[in-house]
């Protein structure tokens, strides 16, 4: 697959304006900054040595926070220590992480050009059948997996991030297969789905902060259900954000020639 790719990519890479690869211009440039480069290499080696020494010099034992987490597991509302840390003990980390994701998707939406669909495989291409088959077979399994991961997060490896990633992967497949017309999504729905996780999280955080007088301290009896509520909405939003980052800014429309170059492994049938 990749081997018969390389010959066809050569023309593209030579036509490509820059590329830090081997061109003579790069060598001239390197000669110009030769001294700085050598100095920088030395600096990196020095950094490597320093970090090596630091790691080997670390005390072999450290109290860590394991004991504290273990001691408070009973009030966390979940059985998995990592989920407890993520959504209860250090819930503000996760809250801010959702904000970072939201900002990334907002940045992506700010930069978008005129509505444009993601280039899809043309119906005649052999790869199209593979993609269609994958969509039929995999999408239900992926949704099931996402649901399972969300449920498993309570007591085993899994949780909102993993579930959100699987949802996003399903979305990528749908976008590539042209089943999900991202640009046809109504604006309000797009905005709501991107911010839904954060809205729910902030609402829960505000309510429990008012009730318990402590930031993000869930009442013991409701911790489990509140975490589940947050996890479901956050997983959905992570999925939507990642799909937006993928589909919200489709690649510059390729000319048919470039498209053929890229898909040079499939024989164009049309």
């Amino acid at each position: 697959m990749t081997s018969n790719k390389s010959p066809t990519t050569e023309p593209a890479s030579t036509r490509r304006p820059k590329s830090s690869s081997g061109a003579a211009g790069v060598r001239e440039f390197a000669a110009e900054i030769g001294f700085a480069r050598v100095a920088f290499n030395l600096l990196v080696v020095l950094l490597l040595g320093l970090l090596f020494w630091t790691v080997l010099d670390l005390p072999p034992q450290s109290a860590g926070l394991h004991a504290k987490v273990k001691a408070h597991m009973h009030v966390s509302g979940v059985a998995s220590p990592i989920t407890a840390v993520l959504l209860n003990f250090r819930g503000y980390d996760t809250l801010l992480e959702i904000v970072v994701l939201l900002l990334a998707s907002i940045g992506c939406l700010i930069l978008r050009d005129a509505p444009q669909s993601h280039p899809a495989l043309a119906p005649g291409r052999p790869g199209k059948w593979v993609l269609d088959g994958m969509i039929h077979v995999l999408i239900p399994v992926m949704l099931l997996t996402a649901g399972y991961l969300l449920w498993a997060g309570d007591h085993a490896p899994g949780g909102a991030f993993q579930a959100g990633a699987v949802l996003a992967a399903a979305g990528f497949l749908l976008v590539l297969g042209n089943r999900m017309r991202f640009w046809r999504t109504p604006e309000w729905l797009l905005r709501l789905s991107l911010s839904f996780g954060m809205i729910v999280f902030v609402l829960v955080a505000s309510v429990v902060t008012i009730l318990t007088k402590n930031l993000l301290q869930y009442p013991e009896n409701y911790a489990g259900i509140l975490i589940l509520l947050i996890e479901i909405s956050v997983a959905g939003s992570i999925g939507c954000v990642l799909i937006t980052l993928f589909a919200g800014h489709p690649p510059v429309t390729r000319t048919p020639a470039a498209d053929q170059l890229w898909h040079s492994n499939d024989e164009p049938k049309e």
């Binding site: 990749t2 790719k5 390389s6 990519t9 593209a12 890479s13 036509r15 490509r16 590329s19 690869s21 081997g22 998995s80 990592i82 050009d113 005129a114 444009q116 669909s117 280039p119 899809a120 495989l121 043309a122 119906p123 991961l149 490896p157 899994g158 949780g159 991030f161 993993q162 990633a165 699987v166 996003a168 992967a169 990528f172 042209n178 990642l242 980052l245 993928f246 690649p251 510059v252 429309t253 390729r254 000319t255 020639a257 470039a258 498209d259 170059l261 890229w262």
Partner: protein, 93 residues
């Protein structure tokens, strides 16, 4: 048993360092991204060896899967001979 796990750990870390090195010095961007996906999968294995299955799941799904798709997509986009901003509807299908 311990000798075997040491050999496994040694091979795994060596493969990770080698993959990282070759993907960072690879000339062909497409190959570099494919190597990066492989690197992500080895990272997932390393997380399992470090008894962090949560991170292994996230790494396999996110780093190897989603980042790989995004990078391949971008590399495909910048490989087009001419940037054609805006216009042109290639909405095929």
């Amino acid at each position: 048993m311990t000798a075997l796990t040491w050999i496994f750990d040694g091979l795994l870390t060596a493969a990770m360092v080698y993959l990282a090195w070759s993907l960072l010095s690879e000339r062909d961007l497409f190959k570099a991204v494919v190597l990066f996906i492989a690197f992500g999968l080895l990272m997932a294995l390393a997380w399992v060896r470090l008894r962090a299955p949560d991170i292994a799941l996230a790494e396999a799904a996110i780093s190897a899967g989603l980042s790989g798709v995004l990078l391949l997509d971008a590399v495909g986009a910048i490989r087009s001979p001419n940037p054609v901003p805006e216009d042109t509807s290639s909405d095929s299908g």
